[in-house]
C-alpha cells in the first residue's frame, strides 16, 4: 500500500527538471515537499498525478502503473498552482461538475467550508482574488474522495487568518478521515510540526527524505568562539555558517563525533526545519548531504 516513484527523470528543452527521483508515499500520512523556486516540485507532482509523462522512470500505486489508469487515478487528487477552471463559470456549477466526476464528492462539507472561509459560491471563478481562487481549489481538494491528496502551494495568497483556518481544517479532516496529504509550500515554519515526513528537492534531486524528528535529530548549530567552533567541527558535514563579532555558528547536518571532547565555550543546539532547509539549499557547492 503506497505510491512508489522510481528513478523518475524529466527534461524540458534539454534542461533537466528532475534527475533520478525516487520516493515512497505511504497511506494516511502528512508529507511536506520542500524546495526552492524552480527545484522541480510542481513537475514532480504533475508526473505523480499523470498530468505529464516522465521521460524516464515509473510511478505506481499499490504496484499498479498509474499511467492512464482510471482506477488508480481516481484515488489521487492534485490541487495545482495553475488555474484549470474556466473564468466565466460559477463556483456552484464547478462543484456540480466535480460531483459528477467524483461520485462521493462531499458536497455538504464543501458548502460548510465555503461558509467558513466566507466564499460566495454564486461568484464566477474569474472574479475571485488569488486568495479566494486558492480557497476554492482547497475546498475541492478536501471534499474529493481520494486517498492521496497533493496540495501545490495551498496557502498562496491566503492571509494569516485564512491560513490558520486552513491548517485547522486540514487537521480536522485528516483526523476524521485519515488519508495522505502531500503539501508543497514555502512557508516552512507554519507546517514544520504539522508534517510527519519531509522530502527536500534541491537541484532536481531528492536530498532529504525522512521523518521530521529523525532529520532534526541530525541537525545541529555549534556556536562559540571562532577557533573553538572551527576545531570542533573539523571533518563534520558543515552545511553553513554565520558570524557575529567573535562568535561563530556552524550548522552541521549528520552525526557528531561523540568521542570528541566538547569545549565549555562551545554550545550545541538543534536546528529547526526552516533553518536546516535554508542552509541545505543555499548553494550547490556548500551542501553535501550524507
Amino acid at each position: 500500500m503506497s505510491i512508489q516513484v522510481k528513478a523518475v527523470s524529466q527534461a524540458f528543452h534539454h534542461q533537466t527538471i528532475l534527475d533520478n527521483v525516487s520516493l515512497t508515499i505511504e497511506p494516511e500520512k502528512i508529507y511536506g515537499l520542500l524546495g526552492r523556486n524552480g527545484a522541480g516540485k510542481s513537475t514532480l507532482l504533475n508526473i505523480i498525478s499523470n498530468r505529464i509523462f516522465a521521460d524516464h522512470g515509473t510511478v505506481t500505486l499499490d504496484e499498479q502503473s498509474m499511467r492512464d489508469n482510471d482506477q488508480t487515478l481516481g484515488r489521487i487528487y492534485l490541487m495545482s498552482e495553475v488555474n484549470l477552471y474556466p473564468d466565466r463559470t460559477k463556483l456552484n456549477k464547478l462543484l456540480d461538475t466535480t460531483t459528477q466526476l467524483y461520485g462521493d464528492f462531499d458536497r455538504p462539507y464543501a458548502e460548510r467550508l465555503a461558509k467558513e472561509f466566507g466564499l460566495d459560491l454564486n461568484a464566477r471563478f474569474g472574479k475571485l482574488s488569488t486568495g479566494y481562487r486558492t480557497i476554492f481549489k482547497l475546498i475541492v481538494a478536501f471534499c474529493v474522495p481520494a486517498d492521496y491528496i497533493f496540495l501545490d502551494e495551498p496557502v498562496l495568497g491566503l492571509d494569516a487568518n485564512h491560513r490558520e483556518l486552513f491548517y485547522n481544517e486540514l487537521i480536522e479532516t485528516y483526523s476524521e478521515k485519515p488519508r495522505t496529504f502531500v503539501i508543497s509550500t514555502h512557508l516552512i515554519e507554519e507546517i514544520a510540526n504539522l508534517i510527519e515526513h519531509v522530502f527536500v528537492l534541491d537541484h532536481h534531486q531528492i536530498t532529504v527524505n525522512g521523518s521530521v524528528p529523525d532529520i532534526l535529530e541530525r541537525a545541529y548549530t555549534i556556536s562559540g568562539s571562532d577557533h573553538d567552533v572551527t576545531t570542533y567541527t573539523q571533518g563534520l558535514n558543515v552545511i553553513g555558517a554565520d558570524h557575529l563579532g567573535g562568535i561563530t555558528a556552524h550548522y552541521v547536518y549528520g552525526p557528531l563525533q561523540d568521542d570528541r571532547p566538547i569545549p565549555d565555550t562551545v554550545k550545541i543546539e538543534h536546528l529547526d526545519l526552516q533553518k536546516l532547509f535554508i542552509n541545505l539549499t543555499n548553494t550547490k557547492e556548500e551542501a553535501h548531504v550524507n
Binding site: Y167, I171, Y174, L194
Partner: protein, 123 residues
C-alpha cells in the same frame, strides 16, 4: 491551556512535558479528562501522530489512561507520582547546576548556604 514550544527539542517530548506540567500544577486534576489529540493538534498545528506519541509517554508512565471511545484521563495518584519523580531528579536538575555556577562565581559553601537560607526567608 497554554503551551510554550521551542523549536530545538523534539515536539513529542514537549507535548509530554507540557501535559505533565499541567497535571503537576493541577490544571488537569486527577480523574479529569485531558484535551484530545485532535484538540491539541489543531490548537498548535502539530501532527496528530506526534501528539499521540507524546501522550503515549504519559500513558506508559501511568499518568494518564485511555478510556475507549471517550478520551484520555488523569490517573488517580498521578500528581503524587510526578512530585516523587521530581524530588528524585531535584539533585540532578537543580543542585548540580547551582553548585557549578556558584563555583564559577567563587561563591563559597557557607555563602551558598546563606543564600539558600535567604531564599527560604523570602518565601
Amino acid at each position: 491551556m497554554q503551551f510554550n514550544f521551542n523549536s530545538t527539542e523534539p515536539i513529542y517530548l514537549q507535548v509530554a512535558e507540557q501535559i505533565e506540567e499541567a497535571i503537576f500544577a493541577r490544571t488537569f486534576s486527577e480523574g479529569e479528562q485531558v484535551p484530545s489529540t485532535t484538540e491539541i493538534s489543531k490548537e498548535f498545528h502539530i501532527n496528530p501522530a506526534t501528539v499521540l506519541k507524546g501522550m503515549n509517554i504519559l500513558v506508559d508512565a501511568n499518568l494518564i489512561e485511555k478510556r475507549r471511545g471517550v478520551g484520555m484521563f488523569v490517573v488517580p495518584g498521578a500528581q503524587g507520582r510526578i512530585v516523587e519523580k521530581r524530588r528524585n531528579q531535584f539533585y540532578d536538575d537543580y543542585v548540580k547546576n547551582l553548585v557549578s555556577e556558584a563555583r564559577k562565581l567563587h561563591i563559597t559553601k557557607p555563602e551558598l548556604a546563606q543564600l539558600i537560607e535567604r531564599g527560604f526567608q523570602a518565601k
